[in-house]
Amino acid sequence: MAEVIVRKLNKMFDTNHVVKDVDLHIRDKEFVVFVGPSGCGKTTTLRMIAGLEAVTSGDILIGNTVVNEVPPMDRDIAMVFQNYALYPHMSVASNMAFGLKMRKFDKAEIQKRIKRAAEILDIGQLLNRKPRQLSGGQRQRVALGRAIVRDPKVFLFDEPLSNLDAKLRVQMRVELKKLHERLAVTSIYVTHDQVEAMTLGDRVVVMKDGVVQQVGEPLELYNTPANRFVAGFIGSPAMNFADVTLSGGNGRLWAEAPGLKIGVPEPIAARVNGHAGSKATLGIRPEDLRVAGPADPAELCFEVEVEVIEQLGSEILLDTRAGTSTFVASVDPTLRTRVHERLKLAINPDRLHLFDAQTEAAI
């Protein structure tokens, strides 16, 4: 059991600065997910914590000890690799035993731990097989088993589910969550899949171009994204963005774009005050748009043309256009509409986001 602290961590590959000033405090028993697009530095950060990459500058602490110069074997961590990295010439049992054998555990203890891990993961019947005789899901379990038997201070996961098919991935995601609740070991999990990040993480670290964009609980990221990147990355379907001009008039603040004029609600308007007359990006999630009813105030409504209708059963996704801006709206499945039909959409005023056009930071 241990906390992991990362201070001003940097990594350069030659002249390529891939991790920039990362600061993190991962609490004991916490499940933290690093998420971001390819090349955002999340895997490199994980590999530095594992000791597989040298640190260019900054500190990594595991359980209050600086481990920058400590080799991987002495960091008391276990890692699950993207391609499982099972030893192909060893049986499942030997794969799990290897780490314990290297650490000179006695045979009875090794057997006991393998048995327990096999029970937890339901792989008891596979112990004598070779990795090549296993399916992808089974290999994944064995890789987990190899980590569990070690009983480490920290679990590291490097995109462990990305090689599984969609159905199996959902199933393993649930199992990973249960496993973490049962074992309660500090875990760091890297993924590029925001759904995995939202469902698994106690807290999520969103990274882009080597820089941490925001750290927070899943709903915090969803409800109050720190910038446009986080807003667009978290949530599916993604948030709608429209480039607008902010202007004052009739005693209130308006966000305007061709074919669009929306009254900015009071609490946000108060924050935006200094920005009147400037450019900004308006953000609204598809689920915060609805077909306008008679009770909806006019300043929160705008007219759109339906371009594509996606029937998902539980909801309908409407791809619409208002002037130069496009909006995806998640609407009631009972709605009957046709392509090219003109509709009025209303926004949920509490869930409107504005981002600075230059810095892209939330206003």
Binding site: M73, F81, A85, Y87, H89, M102
Partner: protein, 308 residues
């Protein structure tokens, strides 16, 4: 049903070509070039050799059928026994060193460093240069009068007298072994490097996290995964070394006093050098059961390793 041909529209292949549509004929046709080449240059000389070994033919003397007499004769020939022993010793020692050094080089070349491609190309040089040419160069280096090795050792103060590398029976064997290792290491290094590159680096990282020190990572992860490639490389090398001729012929010609005589050099010396064609053929053939045994053992082992 009657079929009416439409004149001039489709010309069907002639019956002879149509035969190739039958897979059995096609297979035969495709096998032919290889079969003819192998038959002409391997099988035919081999059977001629067997027939020759059963006669008393000499240069200029047709001779007659003598059965296994030639084999009995060489069995009682002390030089032949020396050659057998020498061949085994030569093969065993060089293979051990080629494997060791080749593996070491392969592991070094598998790391990332600047100019890696250039070093890899240079490593292959001893393997690329025609053996006879490079062996002549080595012969000069071992020359009793002009030896650069002696010169270097003398100037570094290790020796006060010239060493007669190729004139002393033990040193001569050591010398040809050194040259064979020098020539053979690149083949091992490059082949094993290819084998190493098929092993995912993730496995080594997983082992490092699992607590394995470098030696254990090599012994428990890299070596077992490299073993199939290693065995195939060894198989090729053993066959080649066992039947080695050029290197020894150029360096020592089998001397001094047959101290470096191998199967191939002795067969040549007796068959071509002294004109006892049938006895030379018998010696060449005597190599066959030994090689056969070695190859069978290795192939069985390779199969066991691969089906693990």
């Amino acid at each position: 049903m009657t079929v009416t041909a439409v004149p001039g529209v489709v010309t069907r292949p002639t019956p002879r070509l149509r035969r190739l549509e039958d897979e059995r004929w096609l297979a035969l046709a495709l096998l032919m070039p290889t079969a003819i080449l192998l038959g002409l240059f391997i099988a035919y000389p081999f059977f001629e050799g067997v027939l020759l070994a059963l006669t008393s033919q000499r240069v200029g003397v047709p001779g007659g059928f003598v059965g296994l007499q030639n084999f009995v004769k060489i069995w009682n020939d002390s030089i032949f026994r020396t050659a057998v022993w020498n061949t085994f010793w030569y093969t065993a020692v060089t293979t051990v060193f080629k494997l060791g050094l080749g593996l070491w080089l392969a592991m070094l070349l598998n790391r990332h460093f600047k100019g890696k491609a250039l070093v890899r190309a240079f490593i292959l040089l001893p393997f690329i240069i025609p053996t006879v040419l490079s062996t002549f160069a080595w012969k000069w280096m071992f020359d009793p009068t002009f030896s650069v090795i002696n010169w270097a050792l003398f100037h570094m103060g290790f020796i006060t007298q010239r060493i007669n590398w190729l004139g002393d029976p033990d040193l001569a064997m050591t010398s040809i072994i050194v040259v064979n290792i020098w020539r053979g290491v690149p083949f091992f290094a490059i082949s094993l490097l290819a084998g190493l590159q098929t092993i995912s680096p993730e496995l080594n990282e997983a082992a490092a996290i699992d607590g394995a020190r470098p030696w254990n990572r090599f012994w428990y992860v890299t070596w077992p995964l490299l073993l199939p490639v290693t065995m195939v490389v060894m198989l090729f090398s053993v066959i080649q070394t066992f039947a080695d001729f050029q290197l020894v012929y150029v360096m020592t010609g089998g001397g001094p006093a047959n101290a470096t005589q191998l199967f191939a050099t002795y067969a040549y010396q007796l068959g071509i050098g002294t004109g006892l064609l049938s006895e030379g053929a018998a010696i060449s053939l005597a190599m066959f059961p030994f090689l056969f045994l070695i190859v069978v053992v290795q192939l069985l082992y390779i199969r066991r390793v691969e089906t693990r």
